[in-house]
Amino acid sequence: MIELQGQVALVTGAGRGIGRAAALELARAGADLVLSARTQAQLEEVAGEIQALGRRALVAPGDVSQAGPVEGLVGHALREFGHIDILVNNAGITRDAVLLRMKEEDWDQVLQVNLRSAFVCTRAVSKGMLKQRSGRIINISSVIALMGNAGQANYAASKAGLIGFTRSVAREFASRGITVNAVAPGYIETEMTRDLPQKAREWIQERIPMGFLGQPEDVARMVRFLSAPETRYVTGQVFNVDGGMVM
C-alpha cells in the first residue's frame, strides 16, 4: 500500500499514543513525516521507526501553540521536503478537575495545547496547501466533545472547539481542494488513559458497546483513510472511532 507516496505529513504530538501511531501508519502508506512534540527523545525514536520503513522523517520539537516556533518548524519542513500535504493536529493534554476545583491555568493550558495549536498550525501549513490547491487537515477531537465528561470541562470544551474549527475551515478551503475533517476517538489505550483507576476503567468498558478500549492504531487507520485520495469528496465531518460509544 503506497497510496501516499511522495506526500509529506506533519503530525503534532507525534511522540507517543495516537500521534505516534498516526505517523507510523502514514509512513507505512508511503508518506514522509515531519514529527513535532515537546520532548525530542520520543520523537527520535519514532523517527527511527519511520526511517526503518524506508521513509524520511524530520524531527521538529517545539511548542506548537505559538506562531513563532510553528512558522519556524513549517519553514524548516518546506526547505527539507518542498511541500506539506497532510496536517494532523493531534497535540493534546488533560488537566482534569471538577469544575469548582478547576484552576484558570488548567483551563488555559488545555485550550492552548488542544485548540490554539490547531489554529496556529493550520494557518501556517494551509498557505502552501492553498497554493498547490490540495491538502488534508485532520483534527483529533474526542467523543468527550460530543458527550461531555465530569471532571473534563476544559478538555471537552477544547475538543468541541476543534469540531467547530474543523467545519469552519472546511468551508473556507473547500473550493481549493483542501479537505478538513475531525476524528473523535473514544477510550483508547494510551498513556492518557493508562492511569485511570480500575473502577473508572470498568465503568467505561460497560459503556462501550464493543466492550473494550481501542488501540492507537484504530484511530491511525482512520487518519490514513482521511489522508488518502479515495476520500477527496469528504470534508467538514466528524468520525467517531469509539467502539460504538456514541451513536
Binding site: 498557505k127 492553498l130 497554493k131 473556507e172 478551503f173 473550493s175 481549493r176
Partner: protein, 80 residues
Amino acid sequence: MSSIQEKVTQIVVEQLSVEEDQVTPTASFVEQLGADSLDIVEMVMALETAFEIEIPDEDAEKITNVQEAVDYLEKKLAAA
C-alpha cells in the same frame, strides 16, 4: 504600461482566473472580477512573493483594484 502594472495584471489574471482584457486598472477585484475573500488573501500573498515585500493586512484591505495595487507597490518599492 509600467512593468509593475504588467506584473500585477498577470498575477490578477492567474489568481482570479479571468481574461486579461477584463483586468482594467479600475476594475474592482470583488465586484467586477468576482474575487472572494480567500482569492484576495491569495492574491496579496502572490504579490508579496513576486515583489519580495510584506503587505500588512491594514494595507491589503485598501487595495481593491489594479491601479491601487500599482500605486501601493510603487510607493513601497521606492521606500525600500
